[in-house]
Subunit: 226 residues, 2 copies
DNA sequence: GCAATAGTGTCTATTAGACAATATGGG
DNA sequence: CCCATATTGTCTAATAGACACTATTGC
């Protein structure tokens, strides 16, 4: 096959990083959607094109895209799936790497849209929108990976503030999995987790017995561990 | 930043599918390496560039690349990891998707190199070669994913012939994990697997009690199931 | 004391690991 | 019979699920 520079749009695919960003909003799992102002218009996962002159890797692209939407440097970016083909993006042959990202719930209000984009925090299972590209499928896949990771115990720490109680951690897991967990069994399971540390003398007080506060342990760097 | 067509090599990254192909060779897990004839020369995982005029997806690229090396249409291609950056390939900014593939052991001898490439089946943990690009890391990652999948029970079926005994299945799992498994516990675990079917009346005979032959069950399409 | 939530204990069913026992063919 | 491997059984320790109990605060 002969190739010319005129064909470059056809021969060189668009390279994209898309991000499924999850957070907890008053106990419910939510995902960030944006309303695109450029064609194709409609609701989509936040994403953007690789810029080889800036990005040292496609992971960098994901971080950069997300920072431009959230104004926060996010921890825990994890590759989920690669989607590609000539039809999934009307602009041409494209390859898109989906990332899973988690936003601590106390940073929720730092996330705002810019002038040209509307944003929305949606229930990942019922967004209320049909997403453009193949983002409906991507979101479903991200949710599946997120749920699989909960059993590690470590991942939900990314969604919590620096200090949290075991009950809050349990409620976080329940919100992700959409199931009720037994308090006793839950605490037994996480008791020996190397990622949890008591904060000595720190308690959450209310109209009841105070709750011991915990934090992510030293060595837990908010990156995924295998 | 201004962009011109002259910069296209810089602005459009190489898009590559690499494959970690595993098989069983007389009870030992082996992976396929090729000796590159083009620069950079040296040993590497089999891989190749996306061709948007042929491939309907990057998964197609992986299938195509592998078919050109093995002359077999392989089942079970699974995405493992995406590596990218300006330095990992001396030819320029590149993005490479690594795939995990499994070759049934009775098809081992169908795999031959072409005239320009040497191939070798190597112990994935001690290849005896330093691989070019970042393929050492990729291979390590593929092996990790392969081992994680063994607990499903389904995946080792891809490495076995159409008919096999439970002992052969156990030895396959042991070869992948490099641990000894208890016969009784192993059979208890897979007893209720929906992916295993007895072949009625079919036995492997030897100088001992005959062994019941099994096959992958109807509905097991040799694709990964979540 | 009472309400409310934190934190622990207990019983049982299920599962995993180790090992033993039995079964069935070929010679 | 004997050998070799297939297949099943058994005992025990660890684990998971359900539920109940105790603990400690604010009011």
């Amino acid at each position: 096959l002969q190739r010319t520079k005129q064909q470059s749009k056809w021969l060189f695919p668009l390279v994209i990083a898309d991000v499924a960003l999850f957070t907890l909003d008053r106990g419910s799992l939510k995902t960030l959607l944006i309303q695109r102002t450029n064609a194709p218009t409609g609701w989509a996962l936040p994403g953007g094109l690789l810029d080889p002159s800036i990005d040292r890797s496609l992971d960098d692209t994901a971080t950069r895209v997300l920072a431009s939407k959230t104004h926060i440097n996010l921890f825990h970016l994890e590759q989920v799936i690669v989607r590609s083909g000539p039809k999934r993006d009307p602009r041409g042959w494209s390859i898109s790497v989906l990332y899973l990202a988690l936003l601590p719930s106390d940073k929720l209000h730092a996330v705002v849209g810019n002038k040209t984009e509307a944003i929305a925090w949606c229930d990942p299972e019922h967004t209320g929108h049909r997403l453009v590209f193949d983002h409906d499928l991507m979101l479903k896949e991200a949710l599946r990976v997120l749920r699989n990771r909960v059993t590690d115990g470590a991942l939900p720490l990314h969604l919590l503030p620096l200090r949290f109680t075991l009950t809050e951690l349990q409620h976080t897991c329940e919100a992700i999995l959409k199931v009720k967990l037994d308090k006793s069994a839950f605490r037994r399971q996480i008791r020996n987790s190397p990622w949890l540390s008591k904060v000595p003398g720190a308690y959450l007080r209310g109209a009841q017995r105070p709750a011991q506060l915990y934090r992510a342990a030293n060595g837990f760097n908010f990156k995924v561990s295998y």
